[in-house]
Subunit: 235 residues, 4 copies
């Protein structure tokens, strides 16, 4: 760790509720901190693991404040060097992240770069969560040996229509195909998840958790929403 600070202990476990703060203003700066504190409280009450993926500029602050696993939203696949404006994997680790999203549908990467990013994450001990858009792409991503795959049909993102209900076959097909290629990958699902009920459905379909954004970050009462999610996952 390059940072001269004591970071809180963060344990990653499943079922996992992974909250993507995107570039929502409701999840930036001081609001990011408040959201993180709500998540920590929900975690303490339920024991369910809640991961947080804030903006890059907020990683250090959150990692120093709450005892939850912090994720970057993206890393670039390069090492230290002349890459102005890029996201160095070492930098997000030093700031306190324990893992990273890779290839989110809003930040898709070239195949060779996903492979390189997963390899770099592994080399640094960062947990990799590769996002995918359908079952076939999930199988493809699984061959790269990430820790997690998060299947999110882009057409459902932000709709409030949960993938686990609207297109359960995308989730079950993903589970089937990914297991064939690589049984060691843990599967999450996302898109349209807004209620604890959706989390329960996701787990029943064979996933080990959810990737959620607006359903928590833009909720009227984020703490209540988090508690609802965590309780559903705890069952």
């Amino acid at each position: 760790m390059l940072y001269p600070v004591i970071q809180r202990l963060a344990t990653l476990s499943t079922p996992l509720i992974l909250v993507n703060f995107k570039t929502y203003i409701e999840g930036a700066g001081r609001k990011a901190l408040e959201l993180a504190e709500s998540a920590e409280k929900a975690n303490r009450e339920t024991g369910v693991c809640i991961g947080l993926a804030p903006q890059f500029t907020d990683i250090a602050r959150l990692a120093q404040t709450v005892s939850l696993p912090i994720f970057a939203q993206h890393i670039d696949p390069m090492g230290p060097g002349s890459f102005t404006g890029h996201i160095l994997p070492e930098a997000v680790k030093d700031a306190g992240a324990v893992g990273t999203l890779i290839n989110h549908s809003e930040r898709r990467l070239k195949l060779a770069d996903i492979e390189a990013a997963v390899t770099r994450a592994k080399g640094l001990g960062l947990v990799s969560v590769v996002c995918t858009n359908n079952a076939s792409v999930s199988a493809s991503a699984a061959a790269l040996k990430p820790d997690f795959i998060a299947i999110e049909p882009p057409e459902l993102i932000g709709t409030g229509i949960p993938v686990s209900k609207a297109k359960p076959e995308i989730v079950t097909d993903t589970v089937t195909l990914v297991r064939k290629v690589n049984p060691d990958v843990t599967i999450l699902c996302g898109a349209g998840i807004t209620r604890g009920d959706d989390v329960a459905s996701a787990l029943k379909l064979g996933t080990r958790g959810v990737l959620v954004a607006s359903g928590i970050v833009k909720a009227k009462e984020p703490y209540k929403a988090l508690l609802d999610f965590a309780k559903a996952a705890a069952v």
Copy 2:
């Protein structure tokens, strides 16, 4: 400001020495902090303005520690919303940046995105420094009304051969063409700058400072290098 911290007062003035930390390991985390403290010392001794462009994850920490203007290395041109993994201008401002590089040769943008990024920066009160690769592109960038243009011939970046000596006509042509299109833009130059002497040359060619990276960040004694630069600029 979303951050519940008192940030140091940072005044931006010219001549300006703007230090790009890139994704160098020598300018990340704790090292970024040490470098910033050296820069602050050199600034106090000479009165010459030294701007710092660290990685995104280090912006908040540096802004809270030193009284120098902090820059982001890049912003994305969008507003708050569903842009996972992108750099929200509001976020770098909230973290304490007073400005941002845009279109660095290692992070080139589409023309329409440069225009949108400059406009977004202006709307937020962030100082915009658009990087360019030749005189014609500099004139083009000047029409977008950024605060600064930093001309850096990419073939000289990291070579130790200063643009102000190897290709002074690129700098003087830039000064001439930019002034015709937009006399309000302040011009910096970069690439290959390693000594105070190079800074003096840059100012003589009509620029108001330099954009420098390895010449400072990878210097054996960054403080001495910074002092050498600042003294040359102070004359």
Copy 3:
């Protein structure tokens, strides 16, 4: 010319109706040929110059069949070499194109690449038409000295609402700003143009023609639409 074929004589003049075939199925293969023949007929009847920008695979065939100026929809800024899957400027010229669109809103380029593409086009004697999205970007593009600028507000493309009526100030601002930066650039406008009347409005605002796509290519009777456009331009 590398092609062992006699190409028809194609003269470029203004007012210009430049038809972008996009990747419409109605403007591909045999349909592209039929459209080109309709355009040639409308040109013969009115004397108004009609340029055609078909898909890359159709350039040679159209250039060998009709006496109208053929444009590529895009070129990459590189020279001959190891650039698999890219559009070599020499190749579109050899196929018979006399010019090329650059930076269409559906194929936006980085600023440095626009500059390089314009320079490459100039070196090969290809007419360059740089597409822009607003007045500020138009001024920026004008500094790169292309032959033409085609201003097209992306939000109006394909709507049938003509820019010359919905946002005439974007066109007049473009004319004003571009002339200041570079009076030698010829200005076209596009987006939402479906009738001869829209062409007349465009010319009255100070442009020298239009860039049109669905208004012609997807018209029920393309020949009639072309004739309507050309007559309006001829007045």
Copy 4:
């Protein structure tokens, strides 16, 4: 077929020598035609299948002239529509291509776009050849069910050092991993191949042919080089 021409019958078989013309000037326009005729002659003498991947503007001409399978160097994953400057799969098929490279190291695609491009190719009856850079990426690509995978370590492309000799384990690892994920994919290898001997090595390692560029296109005597390759493959 939209084109009103009689295309020559082209049968695709393995072992396959697939020649990538890149944007070499030695493989453009009239030169492309000469090269294609040399390839046809070598094919007639040996019976070995030689595929040709010229620039987009040359596809139609080559498809109408020689009885060899023609490939595009790239397709974009979209259907007909508003995609100015892109490569419509339908267009390359209409021009006479029987297949396409996808994700060449000089034209890398996002993972989701590779999947979509393979699916689009399949829907149109185009043979898909997905290029990859290492064994892990090859396994990932295999899950997308393309017809071919062409493994080419980018660091060897254009060096004249054949992958089959310099890094045979990349080829054998690819064969092993790809077969596990998808035994139906045919494997080619490429990079640095300049002699018939290199082709023989490639086949011995378990591939069914080679992807070659400068080794043929920039050869002093392309016909001799093609014959040398084809004879080695015929054994």
